[in-house]
Amino acid sequence: MTDNSNQVPTVESIAPRVFTVIAKQKRIPVDSVTIESTFADLGLDSLDSVNMLFDLESEFDISIPDEEARNIKTVLEMVEGVRQLIITKSQSQPQPAGGQ
């Protein structure tokens, strides 16, 4: 992972990793997941969503609060939510230069 804390992460940089997490968890081809997909389109039920959130927390080293996760129903919302959490995290704990 090469995120630089000075650089605000973009949807474009995060989206492919979110697609991969969802595809791996649901055992579906990664190209079947798009930024426009809804969780319903992908057949994600409530338990799939909980698994996805768990894997996303590992992938991005973030903690996704229940309250925020509850309202997310699409891949775009998920990518944007992850992006915001990464920004919040980088602001709250300034990384030393060359940090992971």
Binding site: S46, L47, D66, R70
Partner: protein, 404 residues
């Protein structure tokens, strides 16, 4: 041979109190026992609250080193059984010893003891765990401890069906007594899940509320874990009358079903099937039911599902049928839940007072039943149901009748 089955003893320990009287007083007052968990370090959890038995001191119940042999859940089982057996005034040393069955419900058994053992080997890098880790952890430890406590030599076993465990236990005990397989049964549930590793596992499921439990309320945010045990003594009604026993009520029906659908998401068809089977088993019409103690976990998914199951079975009668979730007061004690709620239901029938669903703030169109919000209600009810619907789609419903 189908015998009527009377309940001649009840005992309970929960966050609401350490005996039946304390529990009923709290339920009738609508007192919520949910508060900060103190027996585990919850500082790294996303939720801080549970329904914990307050200021529990095992030494007050178990002299010498007796408590060392029992996990908290099994201690609770013995405490509840003592109260129930005392109330029944039965003596098991004689002819009843072989003819009494003990059926407990516990979902996770003594996983708190296992958790402590795993902490020792995985975290503290000790090369050994406590020698009693196995017997403390086994989910049958409560049933075994009750059998030893009273010298009961009949069949004793534990049923583990997640949140339906104790309804399955009580239901099977009811059938055993009704059919003549057993002359007496001690049945109920016991659970103590407020151990750190278990709390973490529940946190990961994202079904635990960050503050409190508001079943059927639009702003509900999940369940609150609870602990405790409750036990019932069952015997044939004729035998109970012949010996002049106090009769707390009858169990008149039991229904079970499986959703065959999803490992965690409940299906209303399965819940409705269990309710119908309980009514059929009791030979009751839906219109005869005057109260339901709901499963009512307060999760986003359960409460609308349960509402639609009740509507499917009861039709227009559902609009006149008060229900409540006492989990809003004693928390969700998993494998002990059905037993705590059996006591609540029996006491409701006996005292002509229906316990409320507390913490209720806002109607939810998807949960549009009369949930007895926040305040107990006076009502004379003859027949009531108590619902339990487990993860894994396993449903168990009991039908009760008030004492004549």
């Amino acid at each position: 041979m189908n015998r009527r089955v009377a309940i001649t003893g009840i005992g309970i320990i929960s966050a609401l109190g350490k005996n039946v009287a304390e529990n009923w007083k709290a339920l009738a007052e609508g007192r919520c026992a949910i508060g900060p968990i103190t027996i585990s370090d919850v500082s790294s959890l996303k939720f801080l609250n549970g329904a914990e038995v307050p200021a529990y001191d095992s030494a007050a119940y178990f002299p010498g080193n007796q408590a060392d042999f029992l996990d908290r859940f099994a201690q609770f089982a013995v405490i509840a059984a003592r109260e129930a057996v005392t109330a029944s005034a039965l003596d098991f040393r004689g002819e009843f010893s072989d003819k009494t069955t003990i059926i407990t419900g516990s979902s996770i058994g003594g996983q708190g003891s296992q958790d402590a053992g795993f902490w020792a080997v995985y975290h503290e890098r000790q090369n050994r765990v406590h020698p009693l880790t196995i017997p403390r952890t086994m989910p049958n430890a409560g049933a075994s401890a009750i059998s030893m406590e009273f010298g009961i030599r009949g069949p004793a076993y534990n049923i583990s069906t997640a949140c339906s465990s104790s309804n399955h236990a009580i239901g099977n005990a009811f059938w055993a007594v009704r059919s003549g397989l057993a002359d007496v049964a001690i049945a109920g549930g016991c659970e103590a899940p407020l151990s750190f590793g278990i709390l973490k596992a529940w946190e990961a499921m994202r079904v635990v509320s960050s503050d409190t439990c508001r079943p059927f309320s639009r702003d509900r945010r999940g369940m609150i874990l609870g602990e405790g045990a409750a036990m019932l003594v069952l015997e044939p009604l004729d035998a109970a009358r012949a010996r002049g026993a106090r009769i707390f009520g009858e169990i008149v029906g039991f229904g079970m079903s499986s959703d065959a659908s999803h490992i965690t998401k409940p299906a209303p068809e399965g819940a409705a099937a269990a309710i119908r089977k309980a009514l059929d088993d009791a030979q009751l019409q839906p219109e005869q039911i005057g109260y339901i103690n709901a499963h009512g976990t307060g999760t986003l998914v359960n409460d609308p599902m349960e509402t639609s199951a009740i509507r499917a079975v009861f039709g227009t009668h559902a609009d006149k049928l008060p229900i409540s979730s006492t989990k809003s007061m004693h928390g969700h004690a998993l494998g002990a839940a059905g037993s705590l709620e059996a006591i609540a239901t029996l006491m409701a029938l006996g005292n002509c007072t229906l316990p409320p669903t507390v913490n209720y703030t806002t109607p939810d169109p998807e949960c549009n039943l009369d949930v007895i919000p926040n305040q107990a209600r006076n009502a004379r009810v003859e027949y009531a149901l108590s619902n339990s619907f487990a993860f894994g789609g396993l449903n168990a419903v009991l039908a009760f009748r008030s004492a004549e």
